[in-house]
Symmetry: C2
Subunit: 269 residues, 2 copies
């Protein structure tokens, strides 16, 4: 019996060629214009993780979206700018034709056992299976996730009723389920609809310009998380002059902090 590959694995599949990696946008993760930013971020990180020179596991990853990707092929060009004894610094560009469509940096490192004590604690929430699946429609990538909102759902009525709190909190996992890894954790860090929509209940075109993920989990913890649920939340900070930012956290169902994330997003008006 053979199984079809998971759409996420198909999306992040890359072809190595002389230090570069060839990939393609995935119709399964299509967004309004171009692909879901989370899948582009996952593809970029996947290139670093597949690089033969890579040392250790991801600690920090930042991707800047320079242009909407056109549907079709792209090339990822990662470079180890500096390799130390236990840390490595990466720079990366995603290129289509003659144009850079994204830049990224990453720090990878071999981790050691140290004191630990996470401060960002998972809030008390109902278990994921006790929460109904939240219907989402519109763009294709939404169908790749099972989302169960606990707070801060997309406005029902787009009547411009402003709120002062943009916290969104939800359970999320790949649909169909898939064992968690660093690439899919990175993709999940971008599942939040734009905070400015929640604050304003007004639709405005948006686009993430920069997203960072800080990894607090080891690959062993991700393996232990398996295809389980993630509790994820994000809350806006500053909004004005065409940009807003948010700060967020991702836990597994056992309450372990797997990653923190922040991003800054363009909005039109």
């Amino acid at each position: 019996m053979s199984e079809a590959p998971h759409p996420f694995d198909t999306a992040i599949a890359l072809q190595a060629e002389g230090g570069a990696f060839h990939g393609s946008t995935s119709p399964a993760y299509a967004n309004m214009i171009g692909p879901y930013g989370g899948i582009t971020a996952a593809q970029a990180l996947a290139a670093i993780l597949q690089h033969p020179d890579r040392l250790g596991e991801p600690i920090a990853f930042t991707i800047n979206f320079a242009a909407a990707l056109a549907d079709g092929a792209f090339e990822i060009r990662p470079r180890a700018a500096r390799t130390n004894r236990s840390t490595q610094h990466w720079t990366l560009e995603i290129v289509q034709g003659d144009g850079v469509v994204a830049t990224a940096t990453a720090v990878t490192a071999t981790r050691r056992e140290t004191w630990s004590g996470h401060e960002a604690e998972m809030p008390e929430v109902p278990r994921p299976l006790d929460v109904p699946r939240t219907p989402r429609r519109g763009v294709e990538w939404l169908n790749r996730y099972d989302m169960r909102f606990l707070a801060g759902f997309i406005p029902r009525d787009w009547k411009g009723q402003e709120t002062d709190d943009s916290l969104t909190r939800l359970w999320v996992r790949d649909d169909p389920p898939r064992p968690l890894d660093f690439a899919s954790l990175t993709a999940a860090a971008d599942v939040f609809f734009p905070r400015v929509w929640l604050r304003r209940a007004t639709f405005t075109p948006i686009g993430t310009v920069s997203m960072s993920v800080y990894f607090h989990a080891t690959s062993e913890q991700l393996q232990a998380t398996g295809d389980g649920w993630l509790l994820v939340q994000a809350k806006g900070q500053g909004f004005g002059g065409g940009y807003f930012d948010h700060s967020g956290q991702l836990w597994n169902e056992a309450g372990e902090l797997l990653a923190t994330t922040h991003q800054v997003v363009y909005f039109k008006e």
Copy 2:
């Protein structure tokens, strides 16, 4: 009457040469090993701001510290990876000899008037002049700032009394005072002593590996802030496996959110 230049202006002075910028570490901002990370970040951003091709004002800036800078000269190599109609994407390396000591990315953009409504509100605190200056000693860069702690001061007794909250909040300004600009705001985003020291009251060697600053202020707002005080705060999120991260905010005395910031920091044990 001539005045000596401010030590910050001396520190960020760069010599342009064929697309690169030559600078030097500043003894006035020396840290335990190498320079204060905030001054290196400010120098990197200054190179982008001085670049003749630069479009607009900083929106997002991320710097990854790849190695301790040696005292002396360095070269900053910024590159506009993509220039759109109203946004520009920068990549940057700081090089000493043959080695990359830092990488960075930035997004600059021309801002437009839009809806605005900051969500990260300044907490209610006493005015800066009603708070005594907090004595700091040790490394030289501490003398370049007037700091007035309101919460989360460095442990008095390093006796390993753990706490569960690493929030630090203080008023800060350059000493001597200096009109705020994007470079000095970036430097101020790194003034926080390591959150892991506060949590553990135990000294461990540390080093920031990645810092991001999201700018919410325009140059007009920075000009209006002048040489006034900044209220800055940071709080840790995840700690373990040799790394922790924090999330922070910077306001001016009028309560305007000027920037948000994040960083991930190596700690030894």
